[in-house]
Amino acid sequence: MTLSRRKFLIQSTLLGCSAAASPLLTPVTLAAAPGDNRLVVIILRGAMDGLGVVRPYGDANFTSYRPSLANREGTQDLDGFFALNGALGDLMPLWRAKELAFVHAVSTPYRDKRSHFDGQDLLETGSNDSAAAPKAGATGWLNRALGLLPDARQETAFSVGPARMLLLDGPQPYSSWSPNADLEMSPQTEALLAKIYADDPLFADSAEMAMALSAKTDATMARGREGNAKILAAFAAARLNEETRIASFSIGGWDTHNNQSRNLARALGQLSQAILALKSGLGANWQRTTVMAVTEFGRTARENGTKGTDHGTGGAMVLAGGALNGGQVFGQWPGLGEFDLYQNRDLQPTDDVRRYMGWALRDLFGMEASAIGSTVFPGVDMGENVGIIA
């Protein structure tokens, strides 16, 4: 982690200063914020089954591949070809308001080994290296994107939740806090702590931010189960209503090898609640917001022997927000015929998920497409604008 070191080292010489005077608690003020648009990136860990979420019931193979999973009960028709999994039914008003969209048959360049962990690393680093795991010192693509934002500062990007997100890791400073975290100590202890951490930047940076953010947030607002996506989303919305413009958190539970109907519905419920919490928390700012939920890869076109699906390749992304050109399923549908499938097994990816993320950055924050193609997603041919932002 490379969080800003700011004043922590100076702080250690100010033994005994009062909390009010502590430079830790003094917000840095800069002239301009990087625009009013907001981006939320949600990492769906465990490989979301795109075919089970945005269901191609117009493709005859779909029902034959998935005898126990493809029934249409509870699903909501989207466009006559795709139907939405019923567990996202609460989002239908957003679909009708063009504030919800999907991209089908997309993937990172990751192929064949189908490891969650390598797949997630690749999704978060945005690397072009389709096989190898990222090396130590790898940076997240969202961190590199921050480097292209001229007015970015520590508060501009926020990692929400206790776990570190590779997506935001790198040399650009960013904030990290969890809605139910809290830290209280006397000014003297705070000063002494600064002293014992002074030679260890990992601890020094982290403690500095913990103290600053703890003073700013009220942990009691976040009672409830830890890892609850709704709480993370509400916290993200609160930050986005202040100085933050980019927020990111994770939702797990997508690895549906078994009994997928129930388990996928559970994970989708979390995602649905998170999106709705963002919308209600953001109020008027929702109109300037884009939510991108992305996953490491899709799952097998055919259901497996245990009413679930195994690791696949092409997947789907879920988009929401008032800034969206929504109400449509983006992407080029490859078909599900035996020869259309990747290795006669997985949905064939027809586009790179990074192109969609890249164009969103361009449309929301005005970054040059060429800079995105060289710095944020090196090696990606950005091509024509995918047009997901209104």
């Binding site: 982690m1 962990f117 206790p162 570190r164 014992i196 601890f203 982290s206 090898h257 245990t306 195994d310």
Partner: protein
């Protein structure tokens, strides 16, 4: 006062210094051999006993229904036993003078990660640790591999129990098929490593070989009627072909254990876990060679690792994950392990919440790749805040707060950095002085 080398050893390979402990008289390797008196601490925590109890619970539900008061009471007991078991595993870290033994148990439990999702799986976890992991940490890796991969906890966690050969009698009758989860993770995580020389075809063939491996009365059971018939070719060799047998699965696992890619993968993981993230190709190669030359003995890996200069170096690039950190803190405070074993449900839950806030929900890693190794993964601002809050509470409320200066000497000897000595004596109260010691990099790093 501990010597410098004792402090370094306790940091890197154990759970830190426990001032009131009679230190184990022998080398780190010697900690691993012979009986461990703590094995007798919790009876009835073996797979057969636990599994029989789960069967009884299932029969109760069948005979009296899920709503019956007696059934509900039994389920409640089962749940609290699962929570007590977790505290028991934790208490051994705090109590065992053979700290390396506990660290290796934790290491291999993480290598063969299971993450219980319901009370019944919680209730089996300690049996998994006691039967599949603990007895095998200092023997042949093949024995550990076979015990872990075929244990009901693993079979259940990675869905092997209902993976069915599509052409087996049951597969044909019920139209059911494969689930390749366990096959993939054995190759990717447990043996060859994700960079290893296997393909999707190997995963598929291995998944077919694994069909038949299931759960039955007494624990693991092989069920020939759902095993895919015919031989499978994996990594260029043929397995099975006759009547389906568990031995065919064992034969492949034995070969996997002796694969050079497995040797390198295990060596690399041990180096990254105990030494640090820097690539040490020469050390890894020496460890892997020794392992293969010994016929796949884990002691050969440890021996080369422990004799490397990096094992006794005084820089500590790693950060203890929360459970390890909590054990280190409680050891430093001479915390009575009995009170961990007898903790109330309320305190147990509270402790679990504190660890979750530090980033580690106890014994519930997020995926089969276990907990992260990177120092950066354990020191996000909210995680560090949770460590500081918990350690402060421990210093203030868990024990009769000791003199922080004496404690500093007792756990760090003369290795304490000057800034830490200064801070510890400069605190306003005794407990804050102790808390500063407990949250210092000297106790968090290893």
């Amino acid at each position: 006062m501990p010597t410098r080398s004792q402090v370094i050893q306790a940091a890197r390979f154990e759970y830190g210094i426990r001032p009131d402990e009679t230190r184990f008289n022998g080398s780190l390797l010697e900690q691993l051999t012979g009986e461990d008196p703590l094995d007798a601490l919790l009876p009835d925590a073996d797979t057969a006993t636990r599994f029989a109890q789960l069967q009884r619970v299932r029969e109760m539900r069948r005979s009296m229904g899920g709503g019956a008061a007696a059934f509900k009471k039994t389920m409640k007991e089962l749940r609290s036993q699962g929570a007590r078991d977790a505290m028991h595993i934790f208490a051994r870290m705090v109590q065992n003078p053979r700290g390396f033994r506990e660290r290796l148990t934790a290491f291999w439990l993480d290598h063969f990660t299971v993450s219980p999702k319901d009370p019944q799986e919680d209730y089996m976890l300690i049996a998994y640790v006691n039967d599949a992991i603990r007895p095998h940490i200092a023997g042949r890796f093949s024995a550990l591999l076979k015990a872990a991969v075929t244990h009901p906890s693993m079979v259940f966690y990675l869905n092997q129990n209902n993976s069915i050969g599509p052409n087996s009698p049951r597969g044909r009758r019920q139209g059911k098929g494969l689930n390749e989860n366990l096959a993939r993770e054995v190759m990717e995580l447990h043996t060859l490593g994700v960079g290893g020389p296997y393909t999707q075809d190997d995963v598929r063939q291995f998944a077919e070989l694994l069909t038949g491996l299931g759960i039955g009365p007494g624990g693991m059971r092989f069920e020939p009627n759902r095993a895919e018939p015919g031989a499978e070719t994996i990594l260029g060799h043929s397995y099975g072909g006759g009547e389906p047998r568990l031995e065919d699965i064992y034969a492949f696992l034995d070969d996997l254990a002796m694969h050079p890619a497995t040797a390198a993968h295990l060596a690399r993981k041990l180096v990254v876990h105990f030494i640090g993230p820097a690539a040490r190709p020469a050390l890894v190669a020496r460890m892997a060679d020794a392992y293969l030359a010994s016929g796949g003995n884990l002691m050969a890996l440890y021996e080369v690792l422990l004799s490397d200069p990096a094992a006794t170096a005084s820089d500590f690039p790693k950060v203890r994950p929360p459970m390890e950190y909590a054990a280190t803190v409680l050891r430093a405070l001479n915390f009575d392990a009995e009170s961990i074993l007898n903790a109330s449900m309320r305190d147990t839950r509270k402790f679990g919440k504190a660890l979750s806030a530090m980033g580690q929900r106890p014994f519930k890693p997020g995926g089969p790749d276990g907990w992260p190794e990177e120092a950066e993964s354990w020191v996000t601002p909210p995680q560090l805040a949770a460590r500081i809050a918990w350690a402060g509470e421990a210093a203030r409320d868990y024990v009769d707060t000791p003199d922080p200066r004496a404690l500093l000497q007792a756990v760090l000897g003369d290795t304490a950095p000057e800034a830490l000595s200064f801070a510890v004596s400069g605190a306003e109260t005794k407990w804050e002085g102790v808390a500063l010691l407990l949250v210092s990099p000297s106790l968090m790093r290893r």
